[in-house]
């Protein structure tokens, strides 16, 4: 297949801005009632008593489910396994134990949302409270090494011959930098809250659910509800942002479905913004120490990256900050990564945009900047001196790596050569100006997928799979890829997604959707064309009746043979057929074990910092990405811009504030949990190298959903150092870190 790259408008854009796209909370059904989560107000203990009498008699209340009157929820099949799974693995409402603040301890169903919410506030609770550890610092004493981190051991080490330990390698390094970096708990905060609308028809469940994975949700719901998978249909054609927090099953979904079953009425539950801070995951807090040993010329001789990350005591999740970064980025003869879990009495964590990578690259790429400063070497040069031409652990070749070109193009576009390496050397009035850079990387993932293509008698073609458009542009990508494969304009292609009944596709997470689903389009197109030709020669009323299929060809929507050219819809009309369809699959193969697959990028950032009052603002950003073929220019660019905005939030603004005494979350709303406003976001210049990675897949595409954020907080911190001479190692970087010793004032 030819490399495709087009710049067209988002197919679902008009539907979304005109309110025609129906999200999971937008479905109204006859006899619908509304569910509302009642959440705990303590971090640890037991519910001693729960008086629901006032709530029960509150207007409109249909039912109140509690640990003392539960809905039956079975344990998910994967419960207890450490590692890859996420979401709620302990069924809630099954016993009166409270393991974290904001845990769902009741489910109120009423005729309206407001009535359910009002009734929930009338439930009288008495707790037996136990002391809780709710922050990383307080839990360090209980830290332990988990069995696995990101599919590897908690400790991974690469030592060159004759070196017995990383510390030995570090001791003999001529130059050493070592620093500890901290990042707080962060929340995804997608614009669309989690919403579930569940209805039963006999023993069959249909559920509109905000998810990144209809088929995963289908399996999990079947398991916890104790029904056959075939009896669950999950629908989610539109997602209003997810960033990882809709990748797993959270308990409000099965509670809604179970209540609908018991009550024999459809039930809708839409989470409030406050509830989303404890019911649907977060990015754990990370403390990481990066130690670099290098020669005086800046060649790394040893790299040690030690990570502590918080994890809910009731649900293991490792924010793999070292494993997913320091084992992949730089050529160093000696590398050690370690990971320790700090158990806290807090809600379960989960994948959040660039899990592990986002905090890990803050540590690693800040440390590289510290090394560059210590050596007096240009930060870009330092990275080139440690350029890994093979994957550092297994020494596999890269499928396709042009990171050096990202640095070169980025430096050129940004004007890096004009940067003064001396801190505090550039100013504009009261504002100190600084420039910094960092590398971006993200693993290229790919999974098995199957796509169906259908020629329709109305002249359109549908392309379908059980995948998602999270706002990422997948509707547009599929239309473009199918358009290329079939020679039909994208306007005539209808992408159909977000239905568990469609052909198999993986979770729309890990930046893998385009790389997994798009390659199956070519196979599906071949199959559909073969079916179309077979149909064209078999029917007696067809213009191609009785011909040998090998004499009939297809091009650009037209069936051709012996001088006849007939559009496919005319062929179908002649045969009185509504459609013909074919399907195709694409899977990763042997190449998985022969190459290293990563996407790369270079992030260049300019900041201004007020020398009196310490506010740091990003004023300019250049990002150059090596992500393989870019199918849809416009939506791809939006993805990277979105990632950089996310990174500006992580760098300067975002932090979930937890009361150290009670585990209460102080900023459970979008007024006090700060994300960037338009005024915080400068012009962002995004460039794609657009070099196909055909070793990875037929189309040469790798993912772009997450790499945009990678390196951004480090680029900002490095630019702030260049502006002020102050090295900030704790995120977010707020004025208090930058008030030190600038105007010679205390």
């Amino acid at each position: 297949m030819n490399m495709v790259t087009q710049s067209i408008d988002r197919f679902d854009g008009k539907l979304k801005v005109t309110g025609q796209a129906r999200y999971s909370g937008d479905h109204s059904l006859p006899n619908l009632c509304y569910g509302y989560l009642l959440q705990s107000s303590i971090a640890k203990g037991r519910i001693q008593s729960m008086d629901v009498s006032a709530a029960q008699s509150s207007p409109g209340v249909v039912a109140i489910f509690t640990p003392f009157n539960p809905l039956k929820i079975y344990s998910p099949a994967q419960a207890g396994e450490e590692g890859m799974i996420s979401g709620d693995v302990i069924p809630l409402l099954q016993n009166p134990t409270v393991d974290y603040f904001g845990q769902t301890i009741g489910f109120v169903v009423a005729e309206t949302f407001e009535e359910a919410r009002d009734a929930a506030r009338l439930v009288k609770l008495q707790y037996q409270t136990q002391p809780a550890i709710v922050e990383l610092q307080a839990g360090l004493g209980q830290a332990y090494a988990p069995k696995s981190v990101s599919g590897m051991g908690a400790t991974v080490s690469v030592l060159s011959d004759g070196v017995t330990s990383i510390d030995e390698a570090l001791r003999s390094a001529p130059v050493l930098v070592s620093a500890t970096y901290n990042s707080p708990i962060e929340h995804h905060n997608p614009m669309e809250p989690h919403a579930t609308t569940a209805m039963w028809n006999g023993d069959r469940l249909t559920i509109y659910d905000a998810t990144q994975w209809v088929q995963g949700q289908q399996r999990n719901l079947a398991a916890v509800l104790g029904i056959d998978e075939a009896n669950v249909r999950v629908l989610c054609p539109f997602v209003g942002g997810a960033f990882g927090c809709k990748g797993s099953m959270w308990m409000h979904s099965p509670l809604t479905a179970a209540a609908a079953r018991v009550l024999n009425r459809p039930v809708k539950t839409v989470l409030t913004r406050e509830q989303m801070y404890s019911a649907v995951g977060h990015r754990p807090s990370v403390r990481q120490t990066v130690t670099l040993g290098a020669t005086k010329q800046g060649e790394l001789t040893a790299l040690k990256h030690e990570v502590y990350s918080t994890s809910s005591r009731v649900k293991f999740f490792a924010e793999a900050a070292a494993h997913r970064t320091s084992l992949a980025l730089y050529k160093s003869p000696n590398i050690l990564v370690t990971h320790q879990i700090v158990p806290i009495d807090f809600a379960p964590g989960t994948f959040m945009r660039a899990p592990g990578v986002a905090p890990g690259m803050f540590g690693l790429e800040s440390a590289m900047d510290e090394l560059a400063v210590k050596l007096g070497v240009d930060p870009v040069d330092l990275r080139l001196r440690n350029y890994a031409t093979a994957e550092p652990v297994h020494k596999l070749p890269w499928s396709s790596k042009h990171l050096d070109e990202c640095y070169r193009v980025g430096a050129e576009k940004f004007g890096w050569s004009r940067r003064s390496p001396e801190p505090k050397s550039t100013r504009n009035g009261d504002w100190l100006i600084g420039q910094g850079m960092a590398t971006a990387l993200y693993p290229a993932h790919r999974s098995h997928a199957e796509v169906k293509i259908r020629f329709q008698s109305d002249g359109n073609v549908s392309v379908s799979a059980a995948t998602h458009d999270l706002g990422t542009g997948m509707y547009t990508v599929l239309a473009i890829v199918a358009s290329e494969a079939l020679g039909i304009p994208p306007e005539r292609i209808q992408a159909v997604l977000g239905d568990s009944g469609l052909t198999v596709a993986p979770v729309a997470g890990g930046s893998q959707t385009t790389a997994s689903v798009s390659p199956a389009v070519a196979a599906a197109a071949d199959s559909a064309i073969k079916k179309l030709i077979a149909t064209a020669v078999s029917g007696t009323k067809s213009p191609f009746s009785g011909m040998n299929p090998s004499d009939v060809s297809y091009a650009n929507g037209v069936v051709q043979a012996s001088g006849k050219s007939v559009p496919f819809e005319a062929v179908l009309a002649a045969l009185d057929r509504s459609a013909v369809e074919g399907s195709g699959i694409a899977s990763p193969g042997e190449e998985e074990h022969k190459y290293g697959f990563l996407s790369f990028g270079a992030q260049f950032c300019e900041v201004r910092v007020n020398e009196w009052t310490g506010e740091a603002r990003v004023t300019r950003f250049t990002s150059v990405m090596d992500v393989g073929t870019v199918v849809s220019q416009k939506t791809a660019r939006s993805q990277v811009i979105g990632g950089i905005v996310f990174g500006i939030g992580m760098g300067l603004l975002e932090a979930t504030k937890v009361d150290p005494n009670s585990g209460w979350i102080a900023n459970r709303n979008l007024a006090e949990y700060l994300v960037p406003t338009n005024a915080d976001v400068p012009h962002i210049d995004v460039e794609f190298l657009n070099i196909p990675d055909t070793t990875f897949n037929l189309l040469g595409v790798r993912g772009i959903g997450e790499i945009g954020i990678a390196g951004v907080p480090a680029a900002i911190a490095n630019a702030i150092f260049n502006a002020t001479g102050i090295r900030v190692r704790d995120l977010p970087i707020t004025p208090e870190s930058l008030l030190v010793d600038q105007k010679g004032m205390a």
Partner: protein
């Protein structure tokens, strides 16, 4: 949200004659928010939007702003922009464009604190439930006050406009069942002391009809500087309202107040006094700013506000007074 009744007031007398269980509603941008989260639960809302408390006028008696005028409108009035830039700037740096289009001047002055403990009914709060305690003293208090902190409450007053008005010696005009009166805005706001639930010197049934700012020519040499974590739609970590009366490089008079650091909009007369008769210089401004924080009592997370307050004042003074090489 608890059930409530609604009444559209046809006259000011009708509005002020309502009971203690009532709340006045104008733009509703703060009240409705707080009702939704059960922090406020008036039995009756009295809609005052049709009352004649409008207009922005400037004459020898001063600048008079009707309580029902919208923040966005007042911020753009040429008289305000030209003669009272500190007021215009404070308004434009408040909230978001959408909120400024809805929110009234009177409502802005009555807005409640953003303290998270106050805003969540599952937590104790002396302001919301007197005597229940204040977890902020040992908990999340980065955004809290360092000035005017009593034993009961350390929440900041959130209004930017109030800081500018307090600096300029504005008065607030009230009308109630007993008639009309006018008091200095600085006296209108009460320190929390042991009764943080009492935030204003307002009597039951009293309504803010407007504010009056003395007309002094040199107020046109004024500015509002707001320091915040993000560039827009965010409350102040610290802010400064500064007006200077200058004779060449000499400071004849000054009006100064700070926001984001006090349990009420924090007027700084001693800082102003320290500037009078001085020649502008960075050292003069720094010495004066030093006075601002002399009574500061920082909490566990907001010690930086002591430095930030001094820096913010100095920066604002340099901006307004100039004269720094």
């Amino acid at each position: 949200m608890k059930a409530f009744s609604y009444k559209l007031a046809g006259s000011t007398d009708e509005a002020t004659g309502t009971g203690t269980q009532s709340a006045f509603i104008a733009g509703g941008t703060n009240l409705v928010d707080l009702m939704k989260i059960d922090v406020m639960d008036p039995k009756e809302l009295v809609d005052i939007n049709q009352l004649p408390m409008r207009g922005v006028t400037l004459d020898n008696n001063g600048l008079r702003i009707g309580a029902l005028e919208k923040m966005a409108y007042v911020a753009e009035q040429p008289d305000v922009v030209q003669h009272f830039p500190v007021i215009s700037q404070a308004l434009l740096k408040s909230a978001s464009a959408q909120l400024r289009n809805m929110a009234s001047i009177g409502g802005n002055l009555m807005q409640r604190t953003r303290c998270g403990y106050f805003r969540d009914v599952i937590m104790p709060c002396n302001k919301r439930v007197p005597g229940s305690g204040c977890p902020a003293f040992t908990g999340e208090n980065r955004m809290h006050a360092i000035l005017g902190v009593g034993n009961a409450c350390c929440a900041t007053h959130p209004s930017d406009l109030a800081v500018a008005l307090v600096a300029l010696d504005a008065s607030i005009n009230l009308q109630g069942p007993k008639g009309t009166r006018s008091i200095k805005l600085d006296d209108f706001y009460l320190l929390p002391k042991d009764t943080p639930n009492r935030e204003h010197a307002i009597e039951p049934g009293e309504l803010i009809t407007g504010v009056t700012v003395p007309h002094t020519n040199w107020y046109q040499r004024s500015a509002y500087l707001k320091i915040r974590d993000r560039e827009s739609y965010e409350f102040a970590l610290c802010s400064a309202a500064v007006a200077l009366d200058m004779d060449a490089f000499m400071i004849r008079d000054a009006r100064i107040a700070a926001g984001g650091v006090g349990t009420k909009p924090w007027k700084l007369p001693e800082v102003a006094q320290a500037l009078i008769g001085k020649r502008v210089s960075q050292a003069t401004f720094e010495q004066a700013a030093e006075i601002a924080a002399k009574d500061a009592h920082p909490l566990s997370q907001n010690g930086f506000k002591v430095t930030l307050l001094k820096r913010t004042l100095t920066r604002a003074l340099v901006q307004v007074g100039g004269g720094v090489a």
